[in-house]
Symmetry: C2
DNA sequence: CAGAGTCTTTGACAAAAGTCAAAAAGCAAT
DNA sequence: ATTGCTTTTTGACTTTTGTCAAAGACTCTG
């Protein structure tokens, strides 16, 4: 699924917008296990995962690697600190599979929104979607047990378990790898 | 701090915007422990806490009451499901202190954004701020211990402890009241 | 200020999750 | 198939957190 058809699903882009977008979008291939963005790096591009899977993770001072989240095909991805605040990214972004990523620069993003204000709707829609997901995630982490969170994930994104190692999934769920392994063995 | 001066801090509202806003803003007083929004209710207004404190919380199926978050003076607040998706709210909003709340309807909000597109900037800024906070919160819940989360809160919002009961703070931190009490006694 | 009600702390115990270390399983490349 | 590497599981033990119950402290009201 490419970005433009993805956007078409939501609002009908006129042919000029489509042409303008095609102009500024850069499409790149990356191999599995490629680091896209490292902590400390400035990366002011809005990405869209056309194929593959990105893991966004965080290194604690103790050196522990914690998955903040996975981004699969059809997701928009930014290094928020960089893209919105022009600060260095705190997180690492790496591909876990061969991936195709489309992206546009922050400047082009601002320009196209200025030229086609209808797109603002879409922008806001994406942010609302994000906020909704984050809110669910917060409440899950706040008052569900590890087992409940595991089962939610199994229901909402079963394919993740075929695609990602359990260590990464465990840290995403906020538990240790061993605990996840034990939860899984009990069924 | 009233809404308009609050907004002035960020961008310079022209006098017409200011007049238009003044027109549509409703200012209300609520006593302590007043329920503003109950689960199941449709509430399509954007609120701004001018004075006081709102607690947003969730009732699990087990009947457990978990604080999703606190909204203090100078915060924008909505029942997201209602305001953005026109669905019934899942959360309860209640004042924990006598509060003054300004609000505008969803329709007025849309209209004023259409009439004064400069405001869109501000709208987006508020969402970015929110997303940043939520991301921090998620990582904290994912890989910090209860004690670390307690200490962050103590650092970032020390006044909360003077204003809110420990039971509510405990559920906000994702721990039981007793655990919070024990963390506190060890220092 | 007495008494009801709420909030907070404490104790004893149970359950959940983390840690460390080692074994087992899986995978890829020779 | 064998070797080396990574991932996953298992076991033994520790730490953290939760639960239940009761006691103490605090607050508000009549």
């Amino acid at each position: 699924m490419n970005v433009i058809s993805f956007l078409q699903q939501t609002i009908n882009l006129g042919p000029e917008i489509e042409a303008d977008l095609t102009h500024i979008i850069v499409r790149e291939q990356f191999p599995k296990n490629h680091i896209l963005i490292r902590p400390g790096q400035y990366y002011r591009r809005l990405m869209f995962v056309e194929e593959g899977l990105i893991r966004e993770h965080y290194l604690s001072m103790a050196g522990k690697d914690t998955t903040y989240r996975f981004h699969t095909e059809g997701s928009f991805v930014t290094a928020d600190e960089s893209f919105t605040d022009n600060q260095p990214s705190q997180y690492t972004f790496e591909t876990l599979e061969d991936s195709v990523i489309c992206s546009i620069s922050h400047a082009d993003f601002e320009n196209i929104l200025r030229q086609h204000p209808e797109l603002e709707q879409l922008h806001i829609l994406v942010m609302h979607q994000l906020i909704r997901e984050m809110k669910e995630r917060i409440t899950a982490l706040q008052f569900q047990t590890a087992t409940e969170r595991y089962e939610s994930l199994l229901k909402s994104q079963p394919s993740i378990f075929q695609r990602v190692s359990l260590g990464h999934i465990a840290s995403f769920l906020g538990i240790s790898q061993e605990t996840l392994s034990r939860i899984r063995s009990k069924r």
